[in-house]
Every structure is written in C-alpha cells, then in structure tokens.
Amino acid sequence: MRAFAVGGTAALLSVGLFLALWGSPPDAYQGEYVRIMYVHVPAALSAYGAAAVAFGAGALYLWRRDRRWDFVGRAGAELAALFSGLTLLTGMLWGKPVWGVWWAWDARLVTTAVLFLLYVGCLLVRDLADDPERGRRLSAAVAVLAFLDVPVVHYSVVWFRTLHQGPSISLQGVKLAPEFLLPLAVNAVAYLALLSVLLAERARLASLEGEG
C-alpha cells in the first residue's frame, strides 16, 4: 500500500511536471513565468490542507489526549510551515519578473507570511516546552489558533483591494483557459497526494521515535 501510494504520487508529480513545462502554452502577459503557478497554487492548497490536518488533529489531541493524534498534528504543523514557506518563495520568484518586485505589501502576501510564522511558532513551542507532554498540548493549542488565519489568507483577495489576483476557480465559475486548467488541476492533485504521503510518513516516523 505504501509503495503504491509513493509510486502513484511520483507518477502524478512527473505527469504534472511534464504538463507544466511542455503541456502548457506561455501566457499572453506573463510569458513563461506562468509555469511557476503550477507549483505556487498547489503549494498554497497543500498548506491549507496541512493546516486543516494540524487543526483537526490538534483539537482531537486536546480532547482525547491520544498520542496518535499528536503524531498526525505534528506532521501537519511541519508540513503547513513547509508548504506556506514554499508558497511564499514561489510567489516571490514569480513576483519579481511579473510585478517588478520580490515583495508587495499586499494582504494575501502578508497573511501568508503570518501563517508561516504561526506554524514556525507552533513547532518552536513544542521543542522549547519544559516537558514533552506540555509541549504537545501547547503546540496543539497554537495549531488550533493558527488555523484561524487560513480563511483570512484565502479570502484576503476578496475582502481587501489587493495586488494579488482574485480566485480563478470559485463557485462563481472558472476564469482559466482549459490549456492552463488541466496542468493546474493535475499538479494540484499531485501536490495533495504528496501532502498525504508526507503526512503519513512523518506521522509514522514520529510514532516510531516515540517522540512528540
């Protein structure tokens, strides 16, 4: 099952990479830089997913005090920090050629940076607590708190006037040409599969280490 999941994810990522590099035409305005979107958007989705897992597992750990939820919560928090960091990095790489700046003081960018910092804090609290059980509890509490930022990140482009473009895919419809939509969808699925594999592996590793 594990080998199948890892193999399937690797295959999906390969197809996604192929479509991003060769299956997608350059954009009329962004040119070749549009290809960064195929990493940036899936990374942001994975950050939301990891944050949701850290929130759910954190809340369940606080309620039931079952170490298994802590293993999952720890994996979720680490991956939320990783993927929100990747989102920021790819956003900056895209921003310099397209917007002309590495960073803009924009609600979406700042709230994503806040999300990243909150998960860094979540991991630090766990490591620096004066006893491991307290560290697990405090880190779960921060994970619950940090998740409150996720809707703010997502809806920041709707609530505030921002430089960052609004959502291209929403309940109101899809504002993306099919030749861009397919590579984006494949990469999104591939990244969510990668997130699931990494979550499972990290949680398994944490349980083997018997740490928290």
Binding site: V110, V125, L128, R137
Partner: protein, 217 residues
Amino acid sequence: MKAWRRVAAVARKDLLLEWRGRDAVLPAGSFGFAVLLVLGLVSGGGGKAAPSALWVSVLLAAVLAAGRGADREGEEGTREVLLLYPGSREDLFWGRWLALCVVLLVLAAGLWCAQVLLFDAPTRGAGVLILAGLLATAGLGAAGTLLAALVAHVRAGPLLMPLLFLPATVPVLLAGVRLSEAAASGAPAGPWWGVLVVFDLLFLLVGPALFELVVEG
C-alpha cells in the same frame, strides 16, 4: 464563590500588584514611548506617519505588558496555588483579561497623548479612536492573556511571545491604523470595524477554551 467574584478577585489581585509595583505599565509604557521616538525619527515625524507609529508602539508595548502578569506569577510561585483554587479556570482567564485590558487602556491612552504631542497629530475623530482603542484592547487583551499563559512554561518564552503575538494580532494593527487614518481625514472606514469585531469575537471565544487546556498542570 460565584464566577464573577472569582473573576473580580483575580483582576483585583493583578491590578493591585501592578499598582504597587508598576512593573508592567512603566517598562512597557517607556518602551512604547521609545518606539514612538524611533519611528518618528526615521519617518521624519510627519502627521502621515502618526497613526502607524501609534499603533505599532501600542502593539509592541502590549507584548511586554501581556507577558508581565504570567512572569510575576512564575517568579513568585503563585501560579500553581492559583490553579488549586476551586472553580473554573475560565474565570482565571477572564480575571487576567480584565486586568490586562485596564493596563492596555492606560498604555494606549498615554501613548496616544505622546503621539499627539510628538507628531503634531490631529485630534479630530477622537471618538472613533476611543472606540477603536476599546475594541482593540478587548482583542489584544484576550490574545495576550492566552499567549502569555502558553509561553509561561516554555524555555525562551519571552522570545517566543512576540513571535506568536505579533503575527496573530496583525489584523488589529492594520484595522487600528486604517481607522485612525480615516478618522483624521474624514474618509469612510471601509471594512475595518468589521475586522476588529471579528478579531475580538474569535479571540474572546477561542481564548478561554484554549486557556483551560494550556494552564493544565
């Protein structure tokens, strides 16, 4: 003992200790004043920079003030004693929150006066500023009470406090600055009242629930 009496007793204890020692208001207020001076110096001290300087100084002073109550209990070893008293720990949260709100209001009022003098900032729209200050204090008090309890048992807690507090309270900073600017210029406030209210509601709902779990022995 009724819940409100426990809340009042905890708030009274914190405020009495603060009144006798003044070890939160004075250091945090002085620090906030230093931040105002530095921001005034680097920005040239124009009226345009005044709202940002005020709210940044209030937020940074709040980081120091919020941690002080929990530090005091740690130093004097009274935290565990307080937890042994019968009654809900939620009352402990509300008592600390009340005391911290009073401290934050004093700090904000002092820093606002300093900002008006140093930046020659307009006092027009003082009613809006007072209402924004009250709403911001309620939210900052809840976030500060929760996070101070959270870092109380963490090594390098005073270093972690700003790392958690500043990102979590960005909405208050942003809303405070925009509302102050709108009050000074007479422009519409936009969505910023809503941002403050939602922030307050979230922290006042989530704060007590998480506080109970965080202070467990």
